[in-house]
């Protein structure tokens, strides 16, 4: 058994920031990650980092934009904390050597991004995430933070008290991918989940193959609810063949979208007469798909994004990476011709419910970054807000877990934050298949930390042995079925019938999953096994997304419903929560907190 004060699961931006913060507080911290840190998906972020750094800008303007962008589904304590802390965090990574793009006077450059009232997006070319990830990893190396790379955390070690709010997380179980051995990890102070996105629940996504919602699913099964899972962001500009992201920076710099009739449809068809191409991502995604569905797309699949008029110098200075991506993955020279784009799954606004200190309702269990839902992004994340989020809330989770004295959280978590039961009639009973055998909460009322961890390790050992020894179907078929139904039915446009179809398909996939087995018998670097375990996580998050989408009968932010074409503030300014409850998913709601530091946020009509 390994032992550390703080264990951070995942070593992308949020994990690294959390680890550095815990280290600053004097904790013995370890990063446990299924990839090597520099392979993390934070590296794929392109556009930039928002922070109010300049005269004429201020944290409260940034907070206001974020709240407005969220369509009033974000919690004010999260938004205010975020906007206030972002400048300090951004300048700090600048002090750590981050190679930002520069102005003539040597200060960092900022550019406009969608939904921002001020050009407050700092960037490093169109590869901001790559530089941020590497800069942070360098700082972790400098501090000698211990990294267990290519160790896959499969389970949390949590006590089995009936009420999740009484439970305690003592550590986790990790699988050493190279040797095939399972080990317990004891965390004296806390476990921080920073496992990133869940894009692999969809088949057209900008997310890495590793983004399988592991942290979210593990926390869920341990008793921490998932929040606002239906809020999935689709990015309007991804390459049709692969889902590779074309940064919002292209539109920020002045890139133009054209339909198959060479019309600038954002204006021509009135989708966003004020902001055009720089409208929020949900607006642009729907506009593109409407064009395609109404026969004005190109090859019935995509539209064109043109940046030629920006000129070679500006493109090379600020968007060079985009040229490489378009060339390598679509065979298009962006200096010479427009780039094909269509919407693709991009970001999960929802995630593990936690407060502004990163803590979940389970004591000692934290979440940060995309896997978490503080909630900051509400129904729609603004471009450039993900990177500062992982800095701000990664740091706070790290500090808190390491024992720093911090203000008591204002955001409530767990069953006691519940306001009302959710009403939804799914066509099939969700989550029920195979519930008992994989109950991750420790059994036997074990409260002594070592026993809890040993018990969790033993459960995982059994699970792995079974997968390796039995015969069955390949997980890849199940995964493909989930991805297909999610893309077909739980996409940009959603309707009741297709959501029900998706739930039936997911139930079928769950049944099929009962028969999966790993055909590679090797204990050495068994990716078949890893992917099989991941697929179980994908199933849980896919179901939560779909259930949430079915329950939310309104149109808010990224969540569009055919039958409900209006934002229903009276009824729906509340968070959708899904709790595992030992295998019986429970849907309930939690109020949104709109009480800001300066003044309350008053929901306003969304005007385009």
């Amino acid at each position: 058994m390994y032992e550390h004060d703080v264990i951070v699961v995942g070593a992308g931006g949020a994990g690294l920031r959390a680890a550095i913060a815990a280290d600053e507080e004097g904790a013995d911290v370890a990063l446990v990650t299924k990839l090597h840190p520099v392979r993390s998906h934070t590296g794929a972020a392109e556009g930039g980092i928002n922070a109010a750094l300049r005269d004429g800008d201020s944290w409260d303007l940034h907070a206001y934009d974020t709240m407005k962008g969220s369509d009033y589904l974000a919690d004010a304590p999260a938004v205010d904390t975020f906007a206030k802390s972002a400048p300090e965090e951004v300048i700090q990574i600048e002090h750590w050597g981050m190679p930002f793009s520069r102005e003539d006077d040597g200060r960092v450059s900022q550019r406009p991004f969608g939904g921002m009232s001020f050009p407050r997006t700092t960037y490093a070319g169109a590869e901001t995430g790559h530089h941020l990830l590497h800069t942070m990893y360098e700082q972790a190396v400098k501090r000698g933070i211990e990294v267990y790379d290519e160790w896959y955390v499969t389970n949390l070690a949590v006590t089995d008290h009936e009420d999740p709010e009484d439970r305690e997380c003592h550590g986790c179980v990790a699988y050493d991918i190279k040797s095939g051995e399972l080990h317990g990890f004891r965390a004296n102070n806390g476990v921080i989940l920073a496992t990133g996105g869940l894009g692999q629940a969809f088949d057209h996504t900008t997310n890495a193959v590793a983004n399988t919602g592991d942290g979210c699913a593990m926390a869920y099964r341990a008793g921490a609810p998932m929040e606002d899972m239906e809020m999935i962001q689709f990015h309007p500009t991804t390459l049709p063949s692969t889902g590779v992201l074309i940064s919002e920076g292209v539109r920020g710099e002045g890139g133009i979208l054209y339909n198959g009739d060479e019309e600038r449809f954002m204006f021509e068809y009135g989708y966003a007469n004020n902001d055009g191409e720089l409208a929020s991502r949900d607006v642009v995604s729907r506009a593109e798909l409407t064009e395609i569905n109404e026969g004005r797309g190109i090859e019935e699949e995509y539209v064109d994004l043109d940046m030629r008029h920006l000129g070679e110098d500006r493109i090379l200075d600020r968007l060079e990476n985009i040229l490489h991506l378009a060339e390598d993955f679509e065979g298009v020279d962006g200096l010479d011709e427009p780039m094909p784009v269509k919407p693709g799954q991009h970001y999960a606004m929802g995630g593990v419910e936690c407060d502004e200190n990163g803590e979940t309702c389970i004591s000692g269990l934290y979440a940060a970054g995309e896997t978490a839902c503080v909630s900051l992004h509400g129904a729609n994340r603004l471009g450039g807000n993900a990177l500062p989020e992982l800095l701000v809330f990664g740091a706070r989770a790290g500090w808190h877990a390491a024992g720093k004295d911090m203000k008591t959280a204002e955001i409530g978590t767990g069953p006691s934050a519940k306001s009302e039961d959710g009403a939804v009639e799914p066509p099939v009973e969700p989550g029920a298949i195979d519930a008992s055998s994989e109950d991750v909460v420790a059994d036997g009322a074990a409260v002594e930390p070592t026993a809890v961890i040993e018990n969790a390790v033993e459960n995982e050992r059994e699970r792995v042995e079974t997968l390796l020894e039995e015969d069955g179907i390949n997980h890849a078929n199940v995964r493909a079925d989930v991805q297909e139904t999610m893309t077909q039915n739980v996409n940009v446009f959603r309707e009741e019938e297709s959501l029900n179809d998706a739930l039936r398909d997911l139930r079928e996939a769950r049944k099929e999953y009962e028969n999966v087995a790993v055909s590679d018998p090797s204990r050495t670097y068994n990716t078949d096994l890893i992917h099989t375990i991941e697929t179980r996580n994908i199933l849980d998050v896919a179901e939560a997304i779909t259930l949430g989408a079915l329950a939310r009968e309104e149109f808010r932010g990224a969540h569009w419903r055919a039958e409900h074409q209006e934002r229903k503030d009276d009824e729906w300014i509340k968070h959708t929560m899904l709790a595992w409850n030992d295998g019986t998913p429970e849907l309930y709601y939690k109020p949104v907190n709109l009480e800001g530091d300066e003044e309350d946020y008053e929901p306003k009509e969304r005007s385009y």
Partner: protein, 294 residues
């Protein structure tokens, strides 16, 4: 061709057999079953027509110290259906998901930024995800990166590579940062431009694997690590003392002087970093630096 005609006939039969469907959901699921049957038929067709132009033959290196029958390294053949835009990584994923789930390789982002799928393809180091199959001669021979210990199939042990990266103290270390925590350190556009290419390294290890010197001298820092040193040594925000320290690291016996300017690292770098140039520039810096003391 005959197999294709057979396949069409099968499809027609299936359509006729399809019962009247009620809801769109059921219809969709019926369509899904149909597609699956099609896929199955397609797979059978593919297996039957191994010489068809629309497939690509992969010859993939296999080795697993744990599994009997795989302990002796060998090459397995996989014939995968080809489509325009298909990459080496796409082909490997197809082979794994459709034919042999034990086929092992690293991959994650699929967009040339995570650096995990550097492979030796037709005798050259490249990233699987950004290499178009159409640009390669058939059959496509896929091996793990040379000069690194093979863990299993196409997965190599990266520890030595990481150690060399860490050996150059790869972190920014300015003499002083502004006291005001909201004040950035100024950097000129020119200086940022100078280090820009060096900051693009994704730690894929292709350069190290292509380097003859690194192959013969295990202690040689190698192109990636020296490039990392360059990234900081050339950054004007680090002070003169730190630069001296950095030059001392790269001037050591197994540092820059080992480079014989063969340009193989530069040739294989998937991010187009002028590695050889950076190494030569550090040699010049080191010489200039030494001259000062004469």
């Amino acid at each position: 061709m005959s197999t294709q005609i057979e396949q069409q006939e099968t499809e027609t039969e299936q359509e006729e057999q399809e019962p009247d469907v009620e809801s769109p959901g059921e219809r969709r699921r019926a369509e899904k079953r149909e597609r699956e049957a099609e896929r199955q038929a397609q797979r059978e067709t593919e297996e039957a027509t191994l010489d068809d132009e629309e497939t690509v033959l992969l010859k993939v290196f296999r080795y697993d110290p744990e599994v009997e029958g795989k302990q002796e390294p060998r090459f397995d053949d996989f014939r995968v259906p080809f489509h325009k835009g298909m990459t080496v990584l796409d082909a490997l994923i197809y082979a794994r998901d459709e034919y042999d789930s034990s086929l092992t390789f690293r991959h994650s982002c699929r967009q040339a930024v995570c650096g995990s799928d550097a492979l030796f393809v037709n005798g050259s180091q490249m990233l699987g995800c950004k290499t178009q199959l159409a640009d390669l001669e058939s059959p496509v021979r896929i091996e793990p990166l040379p000069h690194q210990e093979v863990v299993k199939d196409l997965v190599v042990d990266m520890e030595h590579f990481y150690d060399q990266m860490h050996a150059v103290e790869p972190y920014f270390d300015a003499d002083e940062t502004p006291e005001d925590e909201l004040e950035e350190q100024r950097q000129s556009r020119e200086n940022r431009e100078k280090v820009k290419m060096s900051t693009r390294c994704i730690w894929c290890g292709a350069c190290m694997s292509s380097c003859n010197i690194a192959a013969g001298d295990n202690e040689y820092l190698g192109p990636a690590a020296i490039n990392k040193a360059y990234r900081f040594a050339m950054d004007e925000r680090e002070g003169e003392d730190r630069k001296q320290e950095r030059l001392r690291i790269i001037e050591q016996e197994h540092g820059v002087w080992r480079c014989q300017t063969q340009f193989s690292c530069t040739e294989v770098c998937p991010k187009d970093i002028p590695l050889t140039e950076h190494i030569q520039e550090l040699k010049r810096e080191a010489v200039k630096n030494n001259l000062k003391f004469w």
